[in-house]
């Protein structure tokens, strides 16, 4: 079985920045827009190298989404950058009408998602963005797990036709997936093979699940860990195939339980193969100020929370 380890940590937003720079070099239709957060979104290298294809929008996210839709009409592939909160809830109607309903090839790139934004507190820690975006018809929703996967996902989005939401974050996080990996939108990645339980994890929680898997292995529990980097379209076949083998499920995400990955997996199971499921997620509350790790602990998103959920769900089989 593959063991996942790391020697380096980096923020996933830097993976986005690196991916965007690579796209600039390889695809002249790629343009970037940013709402006064160039440093936070790591868009500085793209701006420096391709100033004529970079648009500073100021603190005006609604306009940014509309501009991007217009540029897409002109054959460009716009990548918008701001915090996840301002990429979704703040501009939901603009995305709904001008991008999703209008089928515009706009890539909405969102950093500082979830609790791991840390000290800025609940105003900025959006935990509803996956739900908001996955509800929109035509929208693809991607939440990669580390620097390398975020870079690969960013690059893959330029070849994908249609509206997409790319979610990443602020904290330094283990890099445990391969460099220069091929990123297949909509295709779940089975990281470990197991027989007792399937863990479906997304974003930062994939690493938490890797650590949980090691703890569970010591307890003699065999985990099938599946990285759901694409929440929509959901890889239903991969989910059903794994659950047919393991018979129970834990989902793990840095998001509200309502509307997140767990919701999507539960719906899939309920419709096709009702099975016990536990969800590791934020349970209908806002976050608060604190360090990322303090917040992950307080809101129940640690490896031990996943371990406990696994033991609970196995007992329900």
């Amino acid at each position: 079985m593959t063991k996942f380890t790391y020697t380096e940590k980096k923020d996933t937003r830097s993976g986005f920045g690196a991916g965007l720079l690579a796209l600039g070099q390889n695809n002249e239709n790629v343009v970037a827009l940013c709402a006064d957060l160039i440093g936070s979104l790591k868009m500085g290298d793209f701006k420096k190298e391709f100033p004529e294809r970079f648009y500073q929008v100021g603190i005006a996210e609604a306009n940014m989404i509309g501009l991007a839709a217009g540029m897409a009409i002109g054959g460009k592939i716009p990548f918008t950058g701001t915090f996840a909160n301002f990429s979704t809830g703040r501009v939901y109607d603009q995305i709904r009408q001008s991008v999703a309903y209008s089928e515009k090839n706009v890539k909405i790139c969102a950093s500082h998602a979830g609790l791991t934004l840390g000290e800025d507190g609940a105003t900025h820690q959006i935990l509803e963005d996956i739900g908001l975006m996955k509800m929109l018809p035509n929208m693809t929703v991607i939440n990669p797990c580390d620097y390398n996967q975020t870079k690969a996902a960013t690059i893959a989005l330029a070849d994908h036709q249609g509206p997409a939401y790319l979610r990443f974050g602020r904290p330094s996080w283990p890099i445990f997936t391969p460099d220069n990996q091929k990123f297949e939108i909509g295709k779940a990645w089975q990281m470990t093979e197991g027989t007792d339980v399937t863990i479906f994890a997304t974003g930062h929680m994939v690493w938490q699940a890797v650590e949980a898997e090691a703890i569970l292995a010591e307890k003699g529990i065999s985990v099938e860990l599946i990285n759901i980097h694409t929440i929509k379209p959901l890889d239903v076949d991969a989910i059903l195939k794994s659950v047919a083998k393991t018979g129970c499920v834990v989902t793990a995400e840095e998001h509200q339980r309502n509307g997140g990955l767990g919701d999507s997996v539960a719906q899939t199971l309920a419709l096709n193969n009702p099975s016990p499921i536990e969800m590791v997620a934020v349970n209908d509350s806002f976050g608060e100020s604190g360090t990322p790790m303090q917040l992950m602990e307080k809101y129940g998103l640690t490896p031990m929370d996943i371990v406990n959920a696994v033991e609970k769900v196995i007992a329900r089989k």
């Binding site: 004529e52 217009g70 054959g75 309903y101």
Partner: protein
């Protein structure tokens, strides 16, 4: 520029107004007021001012692009698109009906030729137009991007985000028009949410402002042709276009009451009696 055939444009306008009231009457829903008020504008744009191809191409390289931000006045746009040859005029009979390409508010999902983006939720069209204009600049395409907004729509904050942006980025290949009829659903704009001095507002945001009578084809064409000459000066252009809501029909003109109300059979007959059938009803 070719000399406009004003009498021909007026004839088309009359037919467009007939189309509007007949479409709205047929489904007893839709927005006749500002559709009627903007008939001269749409006819001038599609039959004289814009370089455009009825064999519709979404990207429109080498063409002028048009965006309708106040999407509720779809009847006038649909009529003019059909009369310009984008689709059969008979399709106007499907307006707002199930399985139609002519949605209540313009949409792209059904691939109706002429429509580049959905609109209806107000305040979004100017941003899209500016984005499309910047794409044209990247491609060294020297054509214009036109956009129409309602005056009530200017109460949406996004419009002013876009206004600030276009001036900052010198997007001078956009000619935005405001349908300045002074009316909105709940009443006169001065009572609902006073727009105050719109010319000064747009100028303060860094736009070049021209003013026109939107119900006078000659004045409108002159104004926009002069506005076209302002391209290259680094400022986005706003055409503040005075119109009358309900223009062309005596009992509808000049009031917000016909913003979103359909005429009954008797009212339709009265309206049609005031509008010459010049191109044949659909």
């Amino acid at each position: 520029m070719n000399t406009p055939d004003i009498s021909e444009l007026k004839k088309i306008t009359s037919q467009v107004r007939r189309d509007i009231v007949r479409m709205v009457h047929a489904v007893q829903s839709g927005h006749p007021g500002a559709s009627l008020g903007c008939a001269e504008y749409f006819v001038s744009m599609y039959f004289h001012l814009m370089k455009h191809d009825k064999n519709f191409n979404l990207q429109g390289n080498g063409e002028d692009l048009f965006f309708l931000s106040n999407g509720h006045i779809s009847p006038v746009w649909y009529s003019v698109l059909a009369r310009s040859g984008y689709f059969e005029v008979s399709e106007l009979a499907t307006f707002r009906k199930l399985n139609s390409r002519l949605q209540g508010h313009p949409a792209t999902e059904e691939d109706l030729p002429g429509i580049r983006i959905a609109s209806g939720s107000l305040g979004q069209g100017l941003s899209a137009a500016i984005g499309a204009a910047q794409a044209k600049k990247l491609d060294n395409d020297d054509r214009f991007v036109y956009v129409l907004m309602g005056d009530g729509e200017l109460q949406e904050g996004q419009v002013w985000e876009a206004a600030m942006y276009a001036a900052h980025h010198n997007v001078d290949n956009v000619i935005a028009s405001v349908d300045f009829n002074g009316q909105q659903i709940d009443g006169p704009t001065a009572e609902v949410m006073d727009l105050k001095d719109l010319k000064a507002k747009w100028q303060a945001f860094g736009w070049e402002v021209v003013e026109s009578n939107g119900n006078d084809v000659s004045d409108l064409i002159n104004t926009i042709e002069n506005a076209q000459k302002l391209k290259g000066k680094g400022k986005p252009i706003l055409n503040l276009m005075r119109t009358e809501m309900g223009q062309g029909i005596d009992f509808m003109v000049g009031t917000h009451k016909w913003h979103g109300v359909a005429p009954n059979d008797e009212q339709l007959a009265s309206a049609l009696s005031q509008l010459e059938e010049t191109l044949g009803d659909y």
